[in-house]
């Protein structure tokens, strides 16, 4: 018997639970609402920008805000609450009685919790961009992808931390609270970093924040607030890519740790 079938069946079962009625319908609606309602504000913003890349970046960023919040709520629900309750209740034990390796079970759970949420998010976002601003988006598709990569890095970092906490503590509730705190903490941390950068006239604090949240590096690359507040940090595209790469290395490392713990150490 091949390994594909048990994996696909466990994935299908996990999706069935994570996105049962009315969650899929509700979150698809919220994604659409967040994307299209915020799209109304884009015209005023991108009229101030200069280059085509900067315009594409601004349009994409203005669409992301609301949907990213919906994405993080969905991930919090599926990873912390969903996987956490599966561990607490014993559904993972039931999955462990099937002929599928532990890593396969975790992959199926993560694909359901994160993969489907990400597909929903990107599907609606890209559709919205294509509908609302095809003349801007299509020629600058690389910038659009880069903007999504930079903005998704921090939510994925939170997801990886929540995954580790859920596995180690086996209490989804605690991971959920930490996830929410981390999400809101970044706004405060970035604000503090900005103030520190202004006070010291050094971009070091912003650079440190950008390692875990590279959307800030991208923001400063495209002008951001540096002109207004005289913070002289304008990372080049290569530097920005480095920040994005570094953040994904951290995210990937945490997920690998989660896999190692789940496969080799998790005692149920």
């Amino acid at each position: 018997m091949g390994k594909g079938k048990p994996f696909l069946e466990v994935l299908s079962s996990a999706i069935h639970e994570d996105f049962r009625f009315p969650f899929l319908e509700l979150f698809a609606f919220l994604y659409a609402l967040g994307t299209f309602v915020l799209a109304n504000f884009t015209v005023g913003i991108y009229s101030q920008t200069t280059t085509n890349e900067a315009v594409a970046y601004t349009v994409t960023t203005s669409l992301i805000g609301g949907s990213l919040f919906v994405f993080i709520i969905l991930v919090l629900k599926n990873v912390a609450y969903g996987l956490g309750s599966d561990l607490e209740k014993g559904i993972i034990q039931t999955y462990f009685s099937y002929p599928l390796r532990r890593r396969g079970i975790l992959t199926a759970k993560l694909l359901s919790a994160l993969g489907v949420s990400l597909l929903l998010f990107l599907g609606i976002q890209i559709s919205a961009l294509y509908i609302l601003a095809p003349d801007i988006v299509l020629p600058q598709f690389g910038t659009v992808i880069l903007t999504y990569a930079a903005n998704l890095s921090y939510p994925l970092l939170i997801s990886a931390i929540m995954l580790l906490m859920t596995l180690i503590l086996r209490r989804g509730g605690i991971a959920l609270v930490v996830g929410i705190v981390l999400y809101f903490a970044m706004s405060i941390i970035s604000g503090i970093a900005f103030v520190v950068a202004l006070a010291t006239e050094s971009p070091l604090a912003l650079q440190i924040v950008s390692v875990i949240a590279p959307s800030y590096a991208l923001q400063y690359h495209y002008g951001g607030l540096s002109g207004i507040f005289s913070v002289t940090w304008a990372p080049t595209l290569s530097e920005t890519l480095l920040y994005i790469g570094a953040s994904y290395v951290i995210v990937a490392s945490l997920f690998v740790l989660g896999y190692i713990y789940f496969s080799r150490r998790l005692n149920l």
């Binding site: 079938k5 069946e9 996990a14 639970e17 034990q93 002929p99 599928l100 496969s263 005692n267």
Partner: protein
């Protein structure tokens, strides 16, 4: 061939030793009970057998292989936990059909196993809508889908009413007889295990204290047990306890179980009526060799501890 072999198996939770140098060997086609009180180490042992827990020391082999993350073994074992948990928003038949696809068996098997546990009428119900008894039956059906050679069940009747418990045990006997499935059943409810098990492992403080066929264990530990049924167990017990040839004694609401020194059974038969008369108690019956599994457990543990436990309740 041995289905399960454990050697020097140990597991601790912090300072608490749950399983301590446990040895076990289970043969094909048997219904073996893992008996012991709460906290004896039964669940931890079963979890190590199922590859859910890693032993701190020693090893366990199931079908000759290490069970940790071993997909080959999972195809040969069915598992029933004390509390069954499944993705609760799916329908019973649909979920079992999914399990059939996971194990690569025809989907028609799903209805077969539902029928075998008399749940065919609940085939269209969501799993979360099943009662506790039905859920345990569903768990057994789930464990049977891939026609396992061995079913490991941990306290599967603990949360059930007597009726549901009796039906489940009948099902175990039926599956053992008709489908030649071997069982490893853990329970602290001993009378029910004596109904279905042909051998038992008596586990206490994380160790196997006695293991073997029930008949052999009775012969070894329960020889000389005499059951005295009376309307005044406490008073009769107090008198019997004074007899020098009594090695062990236990009272319950209906009478006294007494173990006497070898060859002194007849003496007790003579003494009991006199003692009863002395305390004005009525003797309702005296019979030899009727130790329950519960008594056997206590005797085996008492013998290992190397002392008499006369007078304990």
């Amino acid at each position: 061939m041995s289905l399960i072999v454990a050697e020097d198996l140990s597991k601790s939770y912090g300072r608490v030793v749950a399983v301590d140098s446990l040895r076990l060997s289970l043969g094909e086609g048997s219904v073996t009970g893992l008996i012991g009180p709460n906290g004896a180490g039964k669940t931890t042992t079963i979890k190590m057998i199922l590859g859910l827990l890693k032993p701190d020391k020693g090893w366990v082999k199931v079908f000759g292989q290490n069970p940790w993350d071993n997909t080959a073994i999972r195809s040969m074992i069915g598992v029933v936990y004390e509390k069954a948990f499944f993705p609760s928003h799916q329908k019973t038949l649909e979920y079992l059909q999914r399990v059939c696809r996971i194990f690569g068996v025809p989907e028609s098997r799903a209805m077969e196993v539902l029928e075998s546990v008399n749940l065919e009428d609940a085939s269209d119900r969501q799993i979360k809508a099943l009662s506790a008894g039905m859920l345990q039956k569903f768990a057994i059906a789930h464990a049977l889908v891939h026609k396992p050679k061995l079913i490991v069940a941990d306290e599967m009747t603990a949360n059930l009413d007597p009726q549901a418990r009796s039906e489940l045990l009948d099902l175990v006997l039926q599956l053992h007889r008709d489908e030649k499935v071997a069982f490893l059943l853990s329970s602290h409810i001993l009378p029910e295990l004596s109904r279905v098990c042909d051998s038992v492992a008596i586990i206490n403080r994380g160790r196997v204290w006695a293991f073997g066929k029930l008949s052999e264990l009775y012969e070894k530990y329960a020889v000389g047990i005499i059951r005295v049924s009376t309307d005044s167990p406490e008073e009769v017990a107090a008198e019997i306890r004074k007899l020098k040839y009594v090695e062990d004694l236990r009272t319950d609401i209906r009478g006294v179980s007494v173990r006497v020194a070898e060859g002194r059974e007849d003496q007790l038969y003579e003494d009991v009526p006199k003692l009863a008369k002395k305390v004005k108690a009525k003797i309702l019956g005296i019979e030899t060799g009727s130790a329950s599994l519960e008594e056997l457990y206590r005797l085996a543990v008492g013998a290992k501890e190397g002392g008499k436990i006369v007078g304990q309740r």
